[in-house]
């Protein structure tokens, strides 16, 4: 039988937006699904997020963005991750994300997008799928 290690996830709230209910309940759902979940807390800079992700040796970052700034934030974070040689950490994003922005996010290199309303089941499935 294959030995499985737990997926380590950093749920992070970049920027100034303080609506953290979504981030917190997704953190609880992923934890209940058996993942190791670290929650960044609010008002994080992208540098802080990268630092935490490196320190905690996470497999995936889950950004929670409600302010509408998901495109510039993801683009910048992807660039920073590449510069630091962190390409093996997957970037995912959830929050208030209009449907039409999903192709653009995927193009930037975001591994999975979970717009508000995505079920916990689908998020867990999507997260697991990244590591199959």
């Amino acid at each position: 039988m294959e030995t499985t290690t737990k997926i380590r996830v950093l749920i992070a709230k970049p920027g100034l937006d303080g609506h953290d209910k979504g981030a917190k309940i997704v953190a609880l759902a992923l934890r209940d699904a058996g993942m190791e979940v670290i929650y960044s807390g609010l008002h994080q800079t992208l540098d802080q997020i990268i630092q935490t992700a490196t320190q905690e040796a996470v497999d995936v970052i889950g950004l929670s963005i409600m302010s509408g700034a998901h495109l510039p934030i993801c683009e910048k974070l992807m660039t920073m991750m590449k510069e630091k040689g962190l390409e093996d950490i997957r970037l995912t994003v959830g929050g208030v994300i209009p449907h039409q922005d999903i192709p653009r996010l995927r193009q930037i290199g975001v591994a999975a997008v979970f717009p508000g309303g995505t079920s916990f089941e689908d998020i867990v499935f999507g997260m697991n799928k990244l590591f199959e």
Partner: protein
């Protein structure tokens, strides 16, 4: 079926109904229920406008005056916000409810690195008094009151509002502003906090003290059960936590030697209307009664008008769905009906597209029209508290009162609200509840039309915004704000700025009230970032407790 738990038998007959606050509802109610609860008209209701105000704050309620409507408005630059303000006023709105962008809420100027991508996005960008001069140009500030949705830097915006009024020739005793200014709820729900708990509460105390002495028509604090409810609290907890937060502010001010009688009449509240209709109505009736009783019995307040639970009952954001957004138009109308049946004095309604975007003029107007229909077409102004005497409503109101008291007692036993928020107890509790509720929605245990169970198959379908017109972010807002800021920095009197900021720092470090110093800073065109920067250096920043 909404936000209550319905247990049915195999034939689909409802066997049990349990509201979120934990109240079980019977199939029918009669006089025996009121008798069992010891209900009396005099003790539990009283005439409308009489203690304990369960029925209404005013004897004639909506007959003498329909509710005040305050749709939440503001985005982009002060110029654009000013246009929207004028449009809302021309359409019959009689008070403003101002939204600020996140950099402003967090005390950063538009040219701060952390403001990048956020300038003007969720509200208007304010850097200095210059921006307020533009935003409020042509608004009769002696007639139109303004709610300011600002918390961590509420003292700064309150000072700026006074400064702009003075600049336009109004005196400070003519103006009426209600800054939200409820920092403790930010720490539970909305997240726009900056300073550690004790400093945050001190600033709230300073603004209340200042309003008592200098701003007779302003209401310095609006305590928001609203956001606590949005974060996962039950309706009973929404009221209980808001009241416990109010007590924390009252205690801060009374320690300055000011009696509650002198200021509690200026408190206002902001409560949510989404959820089960009957539970909401009972919640508001019980809340009016409990607040009045608490002030009278625990704080010795005697003036009748100071016992009023004033506030905005409205919104309903968490009840809206991203799926089939047009359903939210009807949903919002029912929430507004609940607010009207509860005797809401002031109201606002989330717009149907708000789960996606900042409301467009069209959707904001639809909300305003919904509110008008209730008052002018449907008959909600006909008579005061029309549900009074209903066996069900009166029993439920009494049960709600008990639940609220239980939740308050729990907070008190854990050391009071300031402590429960400092150590994260409340945040953990409401997050856990939000998680359980969300699971219930996803499993179909809680019915939500258009969301479950029929929409559980296709993610793509669920994320389609349908008829929602998205509010586009305009990069020019940031450019314009930054250019204005640059111009301001080169034209203002630097000595006035640095002198006023130094005086502010001295007050912040000591125990002087910061408000008069902030007014001076505003008049000198110090920026929001500079004033908040003084506080940041003096107080430090809050570190969130672990939430697991």
């Amino acid at each position: 079926m909404g936000v209550a738990k319905y247990i049915k038998d195999e034939k689909g007959v409802i066997k049990e109904v349990i509201y979120q606050s934990g109240i079980k509802v019977k199939p029918a109610y009669g006089p025996e229920d009121l008798e069992r609860a010891g209900f009396t008209y005099q003790k539990d209701l009283g005439a409308p406008g009489e203690f304990p105000f369960t029925r209404s704050l005013h004897p004639q309620s909506y007959r003498s005056r329909a509710w005040t409507t305050r749709q939440y408005t503001g985005f982009g630059t002060p110029e654009e916000t000013n246009e929207r303000f004028k449009l809302m006023i021309a359409n019959g709105q009689n008070g403003l409810n101002v939204a600020f962008d996140l950099p402003t809420q967090m005390g950063y100027d538009s040219d701060h690195p952390l403001a990048e991508g956020e300038v003007g996005r969720v509200g208007m960008a304010i850097d200095s008094l210059k921006d307020f001069e533009t935003a409020f140009a042509g608004i009769p500030l002696d007639r139109i009151g303004s709610g300011l949705t600002i918390n961590a830097v509420a003292t700064i915006m309150m000072a700026m509002y006074q400064a702009v009024a003075e600049k336009f020739g109004y005196s400070k005793d003519q103006i009426s502003t209600t800054p939200q200014n409820d920092i403790l709820k930010e720490m539970v729900g909305r997240g726009a906090w900056i300073f550690p708990v004790e400093h945050g509460v001190r600033l709230v105390g300073d603004s209340i003290e200042y309003a008592v002495k200098e701003l007779p028509k302003s209401n310095p604090v609006s305590i928001c059960g609203y956001h606590i409810r949005e974060s996962g609290a039950t309706p009973a907890q929404e009221i209980a936590y808001a009241f416990e937060i109010a007590k924390a502010y009252i205690d801060n001010v009374t320690q300055r030697g000011i009696l509650p009688e002198a200021f509690v009449g200026r408190f206002s509240f902001n409560f949510n209307v989404y959820g089960n209709l009957w539970e909401q109505i009972a919640k508001f009736r019980a809340a009016r009664k409990l607040w009045a009783k608490m002030l009278k019995n625990e704080y010795g307040v005697s003036d009748k008008k100071k016992l009023f639970l004033r506030g905005l009952f409205g919104g309903g954001g968490s009840g809206l769905t991203k799926e089939q957004p047009e359903n939210n138009i009807m949903r919002g109308a029912y929430y507004a009906l609940g607010a009207a049946l509860s005797g809401a004095q002031t109201t606002a309604l989330c717009s149907f597209d708000e789960a996606y975007t900042i409301p467009t003029p069209r959707s904001a107007l639809l909300s305003l029209r919904t509110l008008e229909m209730l008052m002018d077409e449907v008959g909600l102004r006909d008579t005061v508290d029309p549900l009074a005497g209903s066996y069900f409503i009166e029993t439920l109101t009494l049960e709600m009162e008990e639940k609220i008291l239980e939740e308050m007692k729990e907070v008190q036993q854990m050391g009071g609200m300031t402590k429960c928020i400092s150590n994260g107890l409340i945040q953990r509790k409401v997050s856990r509840q939000a998680y359980e509720y969300e699971k219930g929605l996803q499993s179909g245990e809680y019915r939500k039309v258009g969301l479950n169970p029929e929409a559980s198959d296709q993610i793509a379908e669920k994320t389609n915004a349908g008829a929602v017109e998205l509010h586009e972010y305009n990069e020019d807002w940031a450019k314009k704000s930054k250019a204005n800021l640059k111009a301001l920095r080169s034209t203002r009197n630097d000595k006035d700025v640095s002198d006023s900021l130094k005086a502010l720092e001295k007050a912040a470090k000591g125990s002087d009230n910061v408000m008069p110093h902030l007014v001076k800073c505003c008049h000198a065109y110090a920026t929001v970032g500079e004033m908040a920067g003084v506080f940041r250096q003096t107080f430090g920043e809050w570190k969130e407790p672990e939430f697991y």
